[in-house]
Each structure stands twice: as structure tokens, then as C-alpha cells.
Amino acid sequence: MMKYLRSTRFWLGAFSVLLLLSAASIVFMHRRADGGTAVILQNNREIRRIDLSAVQEPYTLRVDNPEGGYNIVLVEKGRISVTEASCPDKICIHQGRISDSTKPIVCLPNRLMILIEAASGSAPDADALTS
């Protein structure tokens, strides 16, 4: 045992295995985190919940705002975006597709928010730790 602990080759092997295992589990976690659940909120109330990993064919859905406006939401496998909006600034469209929980899509004029819930067991937001 002591002999092994003294040999450079043993440690090189141990560190290589450690690196490989770590890299593999990072890839694994990323794949699992792919496509959490998208939640569409209107006026802070949840109106729809879509499992993005279960989406086969892309489809669009229309979200109407009781006070007028509307948004067209494009749902694809693992990601979601807004393609059309009645408001003049189109900020939600310019936010593009989102696929993780870091940044929700927000349309202030129509009081619409689309966010993706982090898959359980994945890393919490970086801010939880950064102090």
C-alpha cells in the first residue's frame, strides 16, 4: 500500500481517473438539465407549464392579454422563445431562445414572463454561493 502511495505513476493514474470521472459527470448533468420545465406566467399567475424535454415537433401558442395585446410563443425541444408580440419594443423577441433557468423572458407591456425551472439536483444559481 505504502509502495503505491509513493509512486508517481499511481498518482498520475488516480488524478487521470478523477479528471475523467468529473468530465463525464459534467456532461451527464448537462444532458439531464437539457429541457427543464418552462413556466408561462401572466400577471404573475401561472397559466401554462410545458415539459420541454417531451416536445417532439416545434409548435406555437398564442397568449392573449386581457387588456389587449398578445404574444406568440414558439416551443421547441429543450428551448422556448417569443416570435411575435403586439408591443412596440419587441424586447421579449430580441431576448431570443432560452434553454436554462439563468434568464427568463419578460414582456412588460403584456405582463408576460416565461421562465425555465431548473431540473432538480442540478446546480443552483451561481448567486446562491457567491458572497
Binding site: 505504502m2 508517481t8 498518482w11 488524478f15 478523477l18 468529473s22 448533468m29 443552483p124 451561481a126 454561493l129
Partner: protein
């Protein structure tokens, strides 16, 4: 405590503290908490191989305490103590076994232990096991930065031995 030992301890603590403070000013390109170069580890590894165990622990402990005071981050003190404690234990154990040209091995093992210790403190503080999702990334970072600081410590030892 005789004067020579006192001076040596003070000198190396100061060097470690300076490295630590300067490094704290350098932004890390990786957006993960806990990832850093850990240059002050050079001093820890050097001390573990060339001084007695208690002396190496003293240098690390004083550096951590003064370091968090200087950078003004007392929350980081907890994480540093958890990480540093585990790191010095592993480094010292390996320093007993390995030759001086194998310092980098002790350094890598110590860096990995440091990151594991930090995560255990984080899990305890935040009451969640979810922080261990960071483990693979922190392990990789520990191996890379540990090898770097370990080799730096080897070069340092060789230079200091000449004098």
C-alpha cells in the same frame, strides 16, 4: 519560541498573505464560486515539505485569519477554514511519504481536498446537498491549479536550497 523559528514563520506567513491579497484582486475567468488559482498554496506546500507539521499549520492558519480580515470577507473565513483544514491535513500526510520532486502530487491532492472541504462547509451553511453539483467542476479545477502551484513550489524549493 526561538528567534529563528519565529522569524521564519513570520516571513513565510507574510509572503503567503501578500500572494493571497494580490490574488484576491485578480478576477477569475470561470463563473464558478470556489474556483481560483490558489497561489498562496505554494507557500503551504513548501512549508509542508520543509518545516514541521505544526509550523506549516500555523502559517496557514494565520494567513487565513489575517487574509479574510484584509479582504474584508468574513463569510469566506468559514469556507477557507473548512477547505484549508482538509487541505493541510492531506498535504502534510503526503509530505511524509513523497520525495521533494513529487511535491506537485501532494499539492494536487491538497487542492482537491481544499475544494471538497469548501463544498462540505457550503452544504452545511446552506443546508442543501445541491451544492455538490459543483463537485466535478471543482475537482477538475483543483487538479489543474494544484499541479500548477505544486510545480511552482518545487521550483521555489530548488532555488531556496541552493542558498
Amino acid at each position: 519560541m526561538e528567534t529563528k523559528r519565529l522569524t521564519r514563520l513570520a516571513l513565510f506567513t507574510t509572503v503567503a498573505l501578500i500572494i493571497f491579497t494580490v490574488e484576491a484582486q485578480i478576477p477569475v475567468p470561470v463563473p464558478l464560486p470556489g474556483v481560483k488559482l490558489g497561489l498562496a498554496n505554494v507557500v503551504t506546500v513548501y512549508a509542508a515539505f520543509t518545516m514541521t507539521g505544526p509550523d506549516a499549520v500555523l502559517i496557514l492558519l494565520v494567513r487565513i485569519l489575517l487574509g479574510s480580515l484584509l479582504t474584508g470577507n468574513m463569510m469566506a473565513l468559514l469556507y477557507s477554514l473548512g477547505g484549508g483544514g482538509l487541505c493541510i491535513a492531506v498535504t502534510l500526510a503526503l509530505a511524509k511519504l513523497l520525495r521533494r520532486d513529487q511535491m506537485w502530487i501532494a499539492s494536487v491532492a491538497g487542492a482537491v481536498a481544499h475544494n471538497v472541504g469548501q463544498l462540505m462547509v457550503a452544504a452545511a451553511v446552506m443546508q442543501t446537498m445541491a451544492v455538490f453539483a459543483y463537485l466535478p467542476a471543482l475537482l477538475i479545477s483543483g487538479v489543474v491549479t494544484g499541479a500548477f502551484t505544486g510545480l511552482a513550489a518545487q521550483v521555489l524549493t530548488r532555488r531556496l536550497d541552493k542558498n
